[in-house]
């Protein structure tokens, strides 16, 4: 099915802090965001073109194709065997 594509949005503690008009919290917002960006669990998306990232996607797609191919060969084999 068609996928709805939306621009990537990230929560912005900076903007929230700016609304409060507090420069200190603005600065801490930057720091907080920087920390989150360094945390792979919060920001797990690797850099575009990362070889390991691309390899993971290729392995996944290949696994699906191989699995489906095995299923088709199995079904055709059983059918042709006349069991």
């Amino acid at each position: 099915m068609g996928a709805w594509r939306r621009p990537c949005r990230r929560r912005a503690p900076v903007a929230q802090s700016a609304e409060a008009g507090d420069l200190n919290s603005l600065e801490s917002g930057f720091e907080s965001q920087r920390e989150h960006l360094d945390d792979p669990l919060v920001n797990p998306l690797p850099i575009r073109g990362d070889r390991r990232y691309l390899r993971g996607m290729k392995v996944l797609s290949t696994s699906w194709i191989v699995g489906i191919a095995v299923g088709l060969v199995y079904m055709l084999g059983i059918g042709l065997s006349g069991r």
């Binding site: 996928a3 709805w4 594509r5 621009p7 998306l45 073109g49 996944l60 042709l80």
Partner: protein
Amino acid sequence: MIGVRLRQHSLSIFFAVLFVLALIGQSVAGLISFNEDQLAHGAAAVTWIDFVTSSEFVVDVAENWQSEYLQFFLFIFATIWLVQAGSPESKEVGHEGIGSDEQQKVGRYAEPESPSWAKATGWRQTVYSNSLLITMGAIFLLSWLAQGIAGQTVFNAEQAEHGQDLLTLGEYLLSADFWNRTLQNWQSEFLAVGSMVALSIVLRQRGSAESKPVGTPHHEGAVSAE
């Protein structure tokens, strides 16, 4: 990092797990149903291994596979040329067709990170440009063939049991049994796809990639609402 990797592929992994569980469930339920029928006819019950390696099991699996892949084959193909205003499943009205090389980022318009066959010219670019449709179509045809072959075995076993004539594969592919199995699956797939296209114009699911954002006007489709 394993958790991160799993999260990146959670959608496909989720469906792979569901598929395996459903297939196991089908094999167990199918075995019970088959053995009830065997006992009712005074025949011996079979084991799970015997059942999952029989045409009885294969024909039921294959007839569902072919209809699902036909659904996606047709959906991918139809959405090249046909549109539905307001549906996130469709391109915008006026954008029908295969698009220019520049829009599709192929050949000299390919980006540095584009797949190598998208950068290529000639047959490799043509094949890659249609690779999703080709793959879905091939899986559909092969699973439909598997349904036909396994279905013939099952049908002929029943015919023999009742002392009736056996059918060749060609005769079976023209039989009411084959087309009943085929069309009962197709109708439900076409209904599901059509309703998804139509209902997604006015209905929303917050957070789903298959829906427009909740506040998007009904008349906006996938492209204009981005």
